[in-house]
């Protein structure tokens, strides 16, 4: 969606002098506050190429987990369709929630790696005008201004017309759904991905700022007279096709990061200059941290009291989506990823590389990443409390000061770490983040 100018990173606190020092001498080990002596143990120099290879390994493992959990989701969806019941619907919803855990951690690979950024819209575009897909409540549906597709209801129609373009949608295949994305030119026309599947599993959340998520009944997928809200077979076909497309898309991305071929993105990436890759790694961390997570996904919703801008608005799983976004940022810096089966992948990290030159900065950034995870963890804990849980859409209600405080704390922590992500960029040789200034020294 269009981005408002919101969070300004607050570098006024850091003096120009600091930056001059940090910029001018790559090998400078001094922190701004006090010079720091070299670590007493003499570590071997960190192998820059190994840091990059490990970054690619992290991406591959994360996407592999996203794929595995998406396959489970597809299987659960097939079970739901074969036998719609509260149990099979619950199982499918749980599979969706589990699938979000690795996927949200993968988003840190998005910014900077065009192969991901160009691809991800089909999987995680948001927010969506869900009336494109299925029935919606007339009085509680706020859609994008000027979007002709916002109410076409593909499930209920075999032919749709959006902005003068007529499309035969009688057969709901993965390919057709992919083609329907952004039909009529609106970004809110999201026909595929996690949120389309989420909408079909949960339905609209009609509770506003009150407790409760979407409450679709399993009978929305029932055969014959048991079918509620009509078109159950087409709804089931839609859900199945969207789930299948998710699997196909993730298979493609896993292959892009595989080490066993030389014709994929991983090969391209590992052939680049090291500073170029470090730039991508840090750019991904900073962009997700500041503009996307702190800004688009939290600040907009909070400041405008807008549950329309809640990320997982149908399922009320937003706290987890935010939490695992944060985790992904930490993963890239620490070179560590806890896989869905519990095994831990770890290896040469950006952290080690930064520490080699500026251990104080490394310690500070590591601590900040932990602090932002703690702040996101507070949101998660409040949302999952056994007693009176407060979901994200309740936290952003007008006058909910304690909810706002939780979110503001997380925003502040993410903004703070972004400042040091920039410093870290210079430490690892990403001298200028502004192409037009390349070669300038200060």
């Amino acid at each position: 969606m269009a981005v408002r100018q919101h969070l300004k990173p607050l570098f006024l606190a850091t003096s120009a002098l600091t930056l001059l020092v940090a910029c001018s001498e790559e090998t400078n080990t001094a922190n701004e506050a006090a010079p720091v002596s070299e670590p007493t143990t003499t570590a071997r120099p960190v192998d820059q190429a190994a840091v990059i290879t490990h970054y690619a390994d992290l991406a591959q493992a994360t996407y592999q987990d996203a794929l595995t959990t998406a396959q489970h989701l597809r299987n659960a969806v097939e079970a739901l369709i074969a036998n719609p019941s509260d149990e099979t619907l619950d199982a499918a919803r749980n599979a969706w929630l589990a699938a979000r855990v690795p996927y949200q951690q993968s988003e840190v690979f998005r910014f900077g790696n065009a192969v991901v950024d160009d691809w991800e819209g089909q999987l995680n575009a948001w927010p969506l005008d869900e009336g494109l897909i299925d029935y919606v409540a007339n009085d509680a549906y706020q859609y994008e201004l000027g979007n002709d597709g916002a109410t076409v209801n593909i499930v209920a129609n075999t032919e749709i017309n959006v902005g003068g373009q007529t499309v035969d949608v009688s057969t709901l295949s993965p390919e057709l759904l992919a083609d329907l994305n952004e039909i009529g030119g609106s970004e809110a026309n999201v026909a595929t991905g996690y949120h389309a599947v989420e909408f079909l599993l949960w339905g609209q959340d009609l509770n506003g700022f009150e407790a409760g998520a979407g409450n679709r009944s399993a009978t929305d997928f029932a055969a014959g007279d048991a079918c509620t809200n009509g078109n159950c077979e087409r709804r089931a076909a839609y859900l199945e096709a969207a789930s299948e497309l998710l699997v196909q898309d993730l298979e493609w991305m896993v292959a892009q990061w595989s080490p066993s071929t030389t014709t994929n993105y991983r090969h391209e990436l590992t052939s680049m200059a090291t500073t170029e890759v470090f730039q991508k790694m840090l750019f991904g961390m900073g962009s997700l941290s500041l503009g996307e997570l702190a800004g688009e996904r939290m600040k907009v919703a909070l400041e405008a009291n807008s549950y329309e801008d809640e990320h997982d608005c149908f399922s009320d799983n937003t706290h987890n989506s935010h939490y695992y976004n944060g985790k992904g940022i930490e993963n890239v810096y620490t070179g560590t990823y806890t896989r869905v089966d519990g095994t831990v992948l770890s290896g040469p990290s950006l952290s080690a590389l930064v520490a080699e030159t500026n251990p104080v900065l490394d310690a500070e950034l590591t601590q900040q990443l932990q602090a932002s995870m703690a702040a996101l963890g507070q949101i998660k804990a409040a949302a999952e409390a056994s007693d009176n849980p407060t979901k994200f859409d309740m936290m952003i209600a007008p006058a909910n000061t304690s909810g706002a405080e939780l979110i503001n704390n997380a925003i502040a922590a993410l903004v703070a770490q972004t400042a040091n992500i920039e410093k870290a960029a210079r430490i690892v040789g990403v001298e200028s983040l502004q192409p037009d200034d390349a070669g300038h020294t200060f």
Binding site: L10, D309, L433
Partner: protein, 345 residues
């Protein structure tokens, strides 16, 4: 789809971390003094016009004549355009409490302004400026007033002004805006000596102007023209489409850069021995502003007709203006950029 100039995504512009290498500090300080004065003048205008707007809202609700309504709309327009002139300043007191969003929550693709205004009109109980102070950015600013003054569906409803509840909301929001305008103006003058003695603010101010030009080109003009994403033209993506002032707001923002930013920057460029760049920038601004002589206030009529090429001409002039700032001004004055809050999608 006539995309004349490719849009470089904002996310590739890394912004915010900025350095300024002083040429001679006394001249630089003079420049900062000038910038502080000029921007202060812009805030003072915002304050004065916002006070006039609040007075006008009260007067209209006391005596809802056609004349008072016309005056109210005109006062809204003047205050809103005052905001456009100083909108490029994204640092200092405006950073507190999301004040920029409080003045203008934008863009608003989901029409939150409409739903929040409707929410407050349907609530029972007191509705005063104190209610609005904590009511969320979608109902705190100029767009919410614009809705009350121009939205056709609302004007035809039984709640249309001067209905009592709507008048309460109108006066409360106007007073909230006036209050915020005083706050930001006072805050700006309070930081005078800090601003003038902190060289960093030079780059911060330049960076703010660069960012503002990019936002005008890419989002305030390029997005409604369909130059972002997949080419759909959509008037709702522009500013102030309800009042038909989308282009007039862009003109006001460019005027703000011309009068509140350009003179102080010119002193810095002179001090850096780059008077030629100063002249180039002034020429680009003049050229960009000259487009408006032949343009209407609104954008919608031009999006789907012969007028589209005049929007393209404006777009190109904004592109050229941005290039002078990025390619000439920034390197000359040693401004580099870091992460942008707009990085993301």
């Amino acid at each position: 789809m006539p995309s004349l100039v490719s849009l470089r995504p904002l996310r590739h512009y890394l912004l915010a971390m900025a350095l300024f290498v002083t040429a001679t500090s006394s001249q630089a300080n003079e420049a900062l003094t000038r910038l502080h004065q000029d921007i202060g003048h812009g805030y003072t205008q915002l304050s004065e016009t916002s006070n006039a707007l609040a007075d006008s809202a009260s007067a209209y609700c006391r005596a809802p004549t056609g004349e008072n309504q016309a005056k109210l709309r005109e006062n809204w327009r003047e205050a809103f355009l005052s905001w456009q002139r100083v909108r490029f300043v994204d640092f200092g007191p405006i950073e507190q409490n999301s004040l920029a969003w409080q003045f203008q929550f934008w863009p608003d693709p989901k029409n939150l302004v409409a739903s929040k205004v409707s929410f407050w009109l349907h609530q029972d109980g007191e509705l005063t400026v104190n209610t609005i102070d904590t009511a969320g950015v979608a109902v705190q600013g100029f767009p919410a007033l614009e809705y009350l003054l121009w939205e056709p569906t609302f004007l035809q409803s039984d709640q249309a002004l001067p209905a009592a509840r709507s008048c309460d909301l109108l006066t409360a929001i106007s007073q909230h805006i006036a209050r915020n305008a005083q706050t930001v103006t006072a805050g700006w003058y309070d930081m005078a000596s800090y601003y003038e003695s902190t060289d960093d603010y030079s780059a911060t101010t330049i960076k703010a102007a660069m960012s503002a030009v990019e936002v005008i080109r890419d989002r305030r003009l390029g997005a409604p023209m369909g130059l972002r994403g997949n080419g759909r033209r959509n008037a709702y993506q522009a500013d102030a489409w309800r009042s038909g002032l989308s282009l007039e707001t862009i003109r006001a923002s460019l005027e703000g850069l011309d009068t509140l930013f350009s003179p102080g920057l010119g002193m810095e460029l002179d001090a850096a021995g780059a008077s030629e760049i100063k002249q180039r920038l002034a020429a680009r601004l003049t050229e960009a502003l000259s487009n408006f002589d032949d343009l209407p206030d609104g954008m919608a009529p031009l999006l789907n007709g012969d007028g589209y090429n005049s929007l393209q001409a404006l777009y190109i002039d904004l592109e050229l203006l941005e290039q002078v700032l990025t390619d000439d001004v920034a390197p000359t004055l040693g401004v580099i950029r870091g992460f942008n809050s707009s990085d993301g999608d």
